[in-house]
């Protein structure tokens, strides 16, 4: 679960990491009182989950009330569905640092990533100046040791005047990474101010979904999702991805879905959405199809090859869903795996034309989507 900047910063604050003074607003009407609290110049930071907010114009430096109001209106009315803006003091910056903690699957370590040149995305740094990126591996059995923090600081050229505060921030960031079951916790940029203070300028925090049961306090609200279908799927625990093509995918298994996605692209088709029909969802055909129908797709393609997710149960669910929902678009099925013979009979009895080869099913769906025969 990827959190908003303001949530990451709340976590930083709880962990003892300094953040800029800020007020969260939901409308232009809240702006003036927020600005009065913070004082000018200030920054308007749109709280959206996508990256590259600076380039998209979603972060605005403003110098007075008039300037602020104009920019704030623009942000709330932008195409990026901005619901919340963080009104934040403009920090007097000397330099910017990159700092994050994540995991390294190969060595089974926690990994600190640091760079003295912060403020740009780490992916960009990795391409432009890989030699400047510092990686420090942390044995999860020992945790981040003081000598490692010192070594990172020396390698980054952290000045003596800043060393203590920098070390404290890194130590606390690491603990926050552990305590929040984070996949990634990132401060970018970490500001070094002209008075040698160390302040988190921006924050990313991604909580491991598998740890949600022990990381309570983060509620999944509509704000986190691009579409109603994504949001409703999330509430039901059904993996769902929104695209904007013609074919709704009701597939089982991430690997198989990715493959079907590729095959559709090879055939010149486009995908409207991916909905995970496998795992615990294989009995939820009605709800799954309902969610797919929320899309403007032209066809629903069902591809499965299940073991526990029995083909006959899935086939019966599809037939049931068609009967109940009376879908306005064709359904193409390629349902295989345990009890596939029975599934075959069920689908045929319902008047469907079951297919058993993935590529053939993909071709049929693409053909329908492009206006071919039903």
């Amino acid at each position: 679960m990827k959190l908003f900047e303001y949530q990451a910063k709340e976590t930083f604050k709880k962990s003892g990491i300094a953040i800029p003074k800020g007020v969260l607003i939901k409308s232009v009407s809240e702006l003036r009182s927020a600005a009065d609290k913070i004082g000018f110049p200030l920054v308007l930071k749109s709280q959206v989950l996508m990256g590259g907010r600076g380039k998209k114009g979603l972060i605005r430096f403003v110098k007075d009330h008039v300037d602020a109001e104009k920019n704030c209106s623009e942000l709330f009315n932008s195409e990026f569905k901005v619901n919340t803006i963080l009104v934040e003091e403009a920090v007097d910056i000397k330099s910017e640092i990159y700092l994050s903690v994540t995991v390294d699957p190969v060595t089974a370590s926690h990994m600190i990533i640091a760079c003295a040149d912060g403020g740009v995305e780490i992916e960009t740094l990795a391409v432009d100046s890989p030699e400047k990126i510092i990686r420090e591996f942390v044995d999860p059995n020992y945790g981040l040791m003081p000598f490692q923090i010192k070594d990172i600081a020396f390698r980054m050229g952290i000045k003596r005047a800043v060393l203590k505060k920098f070390s404290s921030v890194l130590g606390k960031l690491y603990l926050a990474f552990l305590e929040n079951d984070a996949e990634l916790i990132e401060i970018n940029p970490l500001f070094i101010t002209r008075t040698d203070d160390v302040i988190a300028g921006d924050g990313k925090l991604s909580i491991d979904d598998n740890s949600a049961y022990r990381q309570t306090g983060y509620e999944k609200t509509r704000e986190y999702y691009d579409s109603d279908a994504e949001y409703e799927s999330a509430l039901e625990g059904i993996p769902y991805l929104q695209f904007d093509g013609d074919i709704s995918l009701m597939c089982a298994g991430a690997g198989l879905t990715t493959t079907v996605y590729d095959l559709i692209n090879y055939e010149g088709g486009t995908v409207a959405n991916y909905l995970e029909f496998g795992g615990p969802n294989y009995k939820k055909a009605v709800r799954a199809m309902e969610l797919c129908l929320k899309n403007d797709s032209k066809v629903i393609l069902v591809v499965t090859f299940g073991t526990i997710a029995r083909a006959d149960v899935m086939a019966r669910g599809i037939v049931d869903a068609i009967n109940r929902l009376n879908p306005d678009r064709p359904i193409v099925t390629c349902i295989r795996g345990t009890n596939e013979e029975e599934a075959n009979i069920i689908l045929k009895d319902a008047g469907l034309e079951p297919i058993y080869d993935t590529e053939e099913a993909v071709r049929k769906a693409v053909s329908i989507a492009s206006g071919g025969s039903k």
Partner: protein, 294 residues
């Protein structure tokens, strides 16, 4: 013998009395697996499929010899169950749990490395040596998929494995040992760590890896080949060639590694050491014929 397990391997089942545990124990025994005992705390004295149930792994290994342990344990208890198996000196562990906390998986892999154990999974269908034995849940009854043969298969996926393996079989081949290392961002064991076992296995002529975008697992396999630690033919099928950047297609592995691991990079890595990459599942069989000179 097969790699990891065959019909002689002495298998313990942790979580044997649960619904899933007992159901799949039946199937595992049915397809030849030598299940020797089971463990469920508080259920000692019971039997499942004729196998004695013990309170703990320690008590089980006090009574029967165990070589491998199969975990049917919920994700949040998996770390404890893995450590319990390691504590009793078990060096082969398969965990099918889907949803193990990320930070637990780090500790599991770290412990496995330091104990010199192979932990397969989580988020996997497990391990199967078709015609001999299985740990996990594979639809071994579908003969057009799980036919015994001389092709090793390693995979990060579930359904896609059935899809690709069916293509291997339809091309006239069969499977020697199939290892599902699982779809978690931090699997207990990585592709490259299994390659030496396939290299040494007299029953394997070539290996198919079923990978996907994200991570560096395929690149590590290429490195093994470059280092001469794996010399048999390798054919890969990789999902996600056309996947949009930044979207997470179910498996988290892609994201965690932080932007690396495009399929393009992986294809280059594998082909640069003489491996073959199939564009579609259907082509895997053709490439196998090609690399085996058939």
């Amino acid at each position: 013998m097969s790699i990891f397990l065959d019909e002689k391997t002495k298998v313990l089942i942790q979580g044997i009395t649960g619904k899933e545990g007992s159901f799949w124990t039946d199937h595992m025994i049915g397809c030849g697996t030598n299940v020797v005992a089971g463990v469920t705390p508080g259920k000692e004295g019971q039997q499942v499929e004729g196998k004695d149930v013990y309170h703990s792994v320690r008590r089980a290994v006090d009574h029967v010899e165990v070589e491998a342990s199969m975990l049917f344990v919920p994700p949040r208890f998996t770390k404890d169950a893995v450590f319990e198996a390691l504590d009793s000196g078990i060096k082969k562990i398969v965990t099918v749990a889907d949803g193990i906390p990320l930070h637990d998986t780090i500790q599991i892999r770290r412990a496995a490395l330091s104990e010199g154990a192979l932990v397969i999974g989580g988020n996997t269908s497990g391990v199967i040596s078709p015609g001999k034995a299985m740990m996990g849940f594979f639809p071994y009854w579908i003969e057009r998929v799980y036919k015994p043969g001389r092709i090793g298969v390693m995979t990060r996926s579930g359904s896609l494995t059935n899809e690709v393996t069916a293509m291997v079989v339809s091309a006239g081949f069969g499977v020697s040992s199939l290892i599902g290392i699982g779809g978690d961002p931090v699997p207990g064991t990585r592709f490259s760590e299994m390659l030496p076992f396939y290299e040494a296995d007299k029953e394997t002529d070539a290996v198919v890896i079923i990978g996907e975008l994200g991570g560096s697992m395929e690149e590590e396999c290429a490195q093994m080949i470059r280092d001469g630690l794996y010399t048999k033919p390798l054919v890969a099928f990789l999902g996600g060639r056309t996947a949009p950047v930044g979207k997470r297609m179910g498996h988290a592995g892609a994201i965690v590694s932080g932007g690396k691991g495009s399929v393009k990079d992986k294809i280059e890595a594998i082909e640069s050491v003489g491996g073959k990459v199939a564009e579609r599942p259907r082509f895997v069989g053709d490439l196998l014929k090609e690399v085996l000179g058939l």
